[in-house]
Symmetry: C2
Subunit: 418 residues, 2 copies
Amino acid sequence: MSQLKGACIIGQSGGPSAVINASAYGAIKTALENEDITQVLGALHGIKGVLNDDLIDMGKEDPAELAHMKYTPSSALGSCRYKLADPDVDDTDYKRILEIFKKYNVRYFFYNGGNDSMDTCNKISKFMLKNGYECRVMGIPKTIDNDLYGTDHCPGFASAAKYIATSVMEVYRDSTVYDNGQITVVECMGRHAGWLTAAAALANYAGDGADMIYLPERDFDLDAFTEKVKAVYAQKKKCLAVVSEGIHDKDGKFISEYGNANAAKDAFGHTQLGGLASFLANHLKAATGAKVRGIELSLLQRCASHAASQTDIDESFAAGKAAVDNAVAGITDKMVGFERSCDKDGKYVCNIKLFDLTDVANTEKKVPLEWITPDGDGLTKDFIDYALPLIQGETQQTKENGLPRFVHLAKVKAEPIA
Amino acid sequence: MSQLKGACIIGQSGGPSAVINASAYGAIKTALENEDITQVLGALHGIKGVLNDDLIDMGKEDPAELAHMKYTPSSALGSCRYKLADPDVDDTDYKRILEIFKKYNVRYFFYNGGNDSMDTCNKISKFMLKNGYECRVMGIPKTIDNDLYGTDHCPGFASAAKYIATSVMEVYRDSTVYDNGQITVVECMGRHAGWLTAAAALANYAGDGADMIYLPERDFDLDAFTEKVKAVYAQKKKCLAVVSEGIHDKDGKFISEYGNANAAKDAFGHTQLGGLASFLANHLKAATGAKVRGIELSLLQRCASHAASQTDIDESFAAGKAAVDNAVAGITDKMVGFERSCDKDGKYVCNIKLFDLTDVANTEKKVPLEWITPDGDGLTKDFIDYALPLIQGETQQTKENGLPRFVHLAKVKAEPIA
């Protein structure tokens, strides 16, 4: 394995999370301390920052300030949802990326994101190889959706899960306080994978949970749902249902579209969902006459750093660090992931494991069907056993004046080193 | 001042908060330790629990379990929104309350709620006096709305404010992460008083806040708002506005009603608002063509015990304790409130102060107009100085398995003591 000296670029992409900056900080801090890495560059707004030569010099940041990155939500370097073309069809972007890599002598590229970001990593790596430019490329996973192939779980999931479980516990207490009854529908993110919505089952485990939980892994029948709500409400004068934004009927039609025939699509052709909680609340109000409240957890569930899991934060940092350590050691074309094991006392242990980018890109990992209860509206103990270790530990986020202390980067424009 | 021996009833009413149970626990614990109070009764679902003889014996609860009440959101005894009739028109309920008081020898009545609850306290006290039944009545305030007369602030406000400020900081980071722009509208509770929405200004103070904040204390002009959003978005490619559910135009019409002509009313004749964030998001999307997201903080803002202010928790407990201590000392017909002072170092100090129930009932305290910036879309430093001391301190809530440990009451039905 040859030693490779040069600059590195770190970029962030896709929807942010409460801990994606912990990963970026893990990579940045490790890179700044490594002698083979001559300059640590931050790409503003992901790959677009590379294309636009919008790079900042992370070495010019105050180290004490930079340390707050570990506990700051969202992507401190900015994000993008830019999909690179197929290089066989249009290689304009790739040529530009190579130009920038040459300009700064970039020999390491670390990209911090979800499925689409791993695809971006993979394409860039293949192009560099084809063009004889030596560059090691590593993907650092991030996605609250927890749907990346191979890895036991994804950085960001646990913090969102902890927030969702905590919020469902609190909403359960609040929404059942009156004797004249209430039906409540809570909507969680998750287009195709129900991991986040499943996190509501942790609230049940803690004793204050939902009556029903619906994931997109199973078809959703609005009539059956309505009857179930009616039955629960008739018996208990209250009903709390948690639904994934991506629940759909047996024909694959999103339930959210029942109330909105013209849902917009994003840059990747994904249908832009929303308003499901509101649709179901109105539907149930008409069907039952009860007081109904729809609550959409919206962005709150993915940026709630104040309620993040310290386990998640530490693992996210470790993923970023491992990407740099492994790349410097000669590894390329891998995504850093996690493998679960346990110590001699049976306690959860998380080990770093590398996955081929080719395998990871654009593959979605869903909640195993056998973890969903037979009637399709709950989770088995398997899910609890899986998720509970991940949400342990309260964030060590610094507070100032009773509020979170987030990082404020100086963002000094990078100059190539002579 | 005569000694008065007998049972006490503690009830909770109105919309719950993250700390109303801290007040109830302050009263219950103090009452259980007091020798003049022979039995401590909890009324299930507020005054309806008294009317229905649905009382539990708080002395039968496990003290260690009961202690979790201090950190459990919502009303552990259950709440109601039941409005007592004017006793001069219909005294049926009052006669029934007197009957129950006599049955259990109730000599102390503590009621934990907002404006309407103080009105209930006041009416019951006057009826007992008129009928020659000696009973001391104390109101223990609670309202995230912070709109009770006299008191410097209300238990519950600070925890909701801390959650709102924190969430706005996080949403600001998340919603401004893409370079292709986003407009975000966050909706906070508050029909007539803008205290909660004003809490978003604390996020600005911390460096990650809203571009505009609109309270119901000022008329809202949808066209002017739209132009302002357009101007901010044109300049920054992002815009975050925080609005109160109760914003209304110069004719007093709620903006939320612009999208919903047939808003429902609750038992008190209050218009049931909702959907404002969604309405404004759709409106701005059409007006700007930008990506727009509406976020309603909904119940989350009033039950987020995991993010409660320890200052608020401690003050809420102190309010409950003061109600019992003062009643036993001979005081009646008062609401416990707070008066602000400072120590010799200029540090915030909160003192207990009693207010006449007659003055408090049904009077609303709004945000002073001079604390709103001249253009009506921000708060002055006066508000920050007012609110900042209240949100200090992180909750000492016990966690179990990474999730909050809430109280689970045994709820043993009370029997009159011979």
